[in-house]
Symmetry: C2
Subunit: 258 residues, 2 copies
């Protein structure tokens, strides 16, 4: 069975989608079979792989409602070995619809847990929306671990303790095996004292939970989605791409140790 | 009655809170009486004014549930003429709780519309969370206009048409007088071609709806919240503070013409 990782942080704009896209690509480049599930109604992860909105007939919405299985919603990407379950605008109603559904926190797990297609993958990455809503709860209930992108900014640091408390609550109520895969510092700007300060604070607070790999602020990374490509395809030599390759090998190393 | 502006965009990290805090401060500096309502469970706007979490007894949550009025939840800030209704973690349950409440889209409006304290203010700014959830819907139903901060990045541009369609839907279903106050470009980096490209695309698409004032990326702006102060108090001479002062006068100029 695959290693299922939710990429989550309720703070907006911290690099969840960028990390899900580029880490998935880096893992595929190393030879892993990877599935990315776009669980954000904005659909940025789907756009980041160039999946046209008109081609997203079925999506992660149908997984939540149980109307479809992986085989029915799966789409290939330009990256060999990497598949995506795209999201559509239908998903923006899901949070409200889920409130009155039975087993509302387990919908994604109930649909996927025994889906035979899951066995085709080594890694599943779930890109979460910027909230601690029922969609994110569904991802945390399905996943074995949570990867937390953390922008090196003050407001992002403020939200971290709320997120960690939420993960603990999900672990005790919905998913006993949920662990923290790690916290990855994103958009680190070495010219900026604040980045350093936040990095020191987080490492002091969380120690080895924080990945050694730091993702630098790198304009090539933010240009790539406008070409419908992950940074690793758009410019594999840029500092952002190199950092995501290092993050992939650090995750694999942690796996082997565990 | 005050001019009520919702600062909203479902894309995360585009500068909603930073714009709400600094525009409110700039309007107060020009002599307006301003109220800021923190409607984001993250509570970044409250932190940005140095309101300690332990002091936030009553909050915007009690406005949504109708348990309190403005006078009961109001808190002063360090800026003369500027008051805040802080948010607490209670608000993170509001989206789910609201689904089954009566008049769920009108809760904020029902509580505030006839509140006598409202008449003490010239402007009310509502800082919205990064989603098109019931909390944001409550803000859009109460407000007369929406100010949309737009980060000069590709993913942020992608979300704009979804937001504009949502505003149209709210206008026809819940609040016929809702208008767009304008779109303000944020975190503009003149060294970066992508910023220019996004700015050109948005102006081409929306014309004069886009404010002439552009907010530059400026590290002093992101440092200010860690001191519990708006950028205008932390460093009034920096390029970010100057831009927010210009934005305030541009808004006042648009008001006079309207
Ligand atoms: N390392 C980086 N260098 C430069 N820009 C980056 C980097 N990582 C992300 N970005 C840009 O920052 C913005 C925010 O990143 P992204 O959209 O991935 O965050 P998110 O957490 O998924 O946002 P949301 O909360 O809206 O889902 C995007 O425009 C992205 O292109
Ligand atoms: N002009 C600017 N220059 C530099 N940094 C900025 C600027 N505006 C905002 N920031 C920083 O960018 C980050 C995102 O801004 P902010 O938190 O205001 O966005 P938001 O849209 O309110 O986010 P969320 O979607 O989580 O509510 C913050 O860390 C903030 O300090
Ligand atoms: Mg995202
Ligand atoms: Mg905010």
């Amino acid at each position: 069975q695959p290693n299922i990782i939710a990429v989550a942080n309720q703070k907006g704009g911290v690099g969840k989608t960028t990390t899900a896209i580029n880490l998935a690509t880096a893992l595929a480049a190393i030879g892993k079979k990877v599935l990315i599930i776009d669980l954000d109604p904005q659909g940025n992860a789907s756009t980041g792989f160039g999946i046209d909105r008109s081609k997203r007939k079925l999506s992660s919405y149908e997984l939540i409602t149980g109307e479809a299985d992986i085989a029915a919603v799966l789409a290939p990407t330009a990256v060999p070995g990497l598949y995506i379950i795209p999201s559509t605008i239908d998903l923006s109603g899901a949070d409200t619809e889920l409130v009155t559904m039975s087993r509302r926190a387990y919908r994604l797990r109930d649909t996927l847990e025994f889906d035979p297609s899951l066995g085709n993958f080594d890694y599943v990455l779930i890109d979460c929306p910027p909230s601690l809503s029922l969609l994110t709860l569904n991802a945390l209930t399905l996943a074995q671990s949570v990867l937390v992108p953390l922008q090196c900014e003050f407001f992002a640091l403020e939200g971290l303790s709320l997120l960690l408390r939420t993960i603990e609550r999900v672990k005790s109520t919905y998913n006993g095996s949920l662990a923290i895969s790690g916290v990855v510092l994103t958009m680190f700007d070495k010219r900026n004292r604040l980045s350093d300060q936040v990095a020191k604070d987080v490492r002091g607070y969380l120690g080895d939970v924080v990945f050694k790999t730091v993702i630098p602020r790198n304009v090539r990374v933010s240009e790539a989605p406008s070409h419908g490509k992950p940074a690793l395809l758009y410019d594999h030599r840029c500092s952002g791409s190199q950092a995501y390759m290092r993050l992939a090998s650090e995750i694999l190393k942690r796996e082997r140790k565990a």
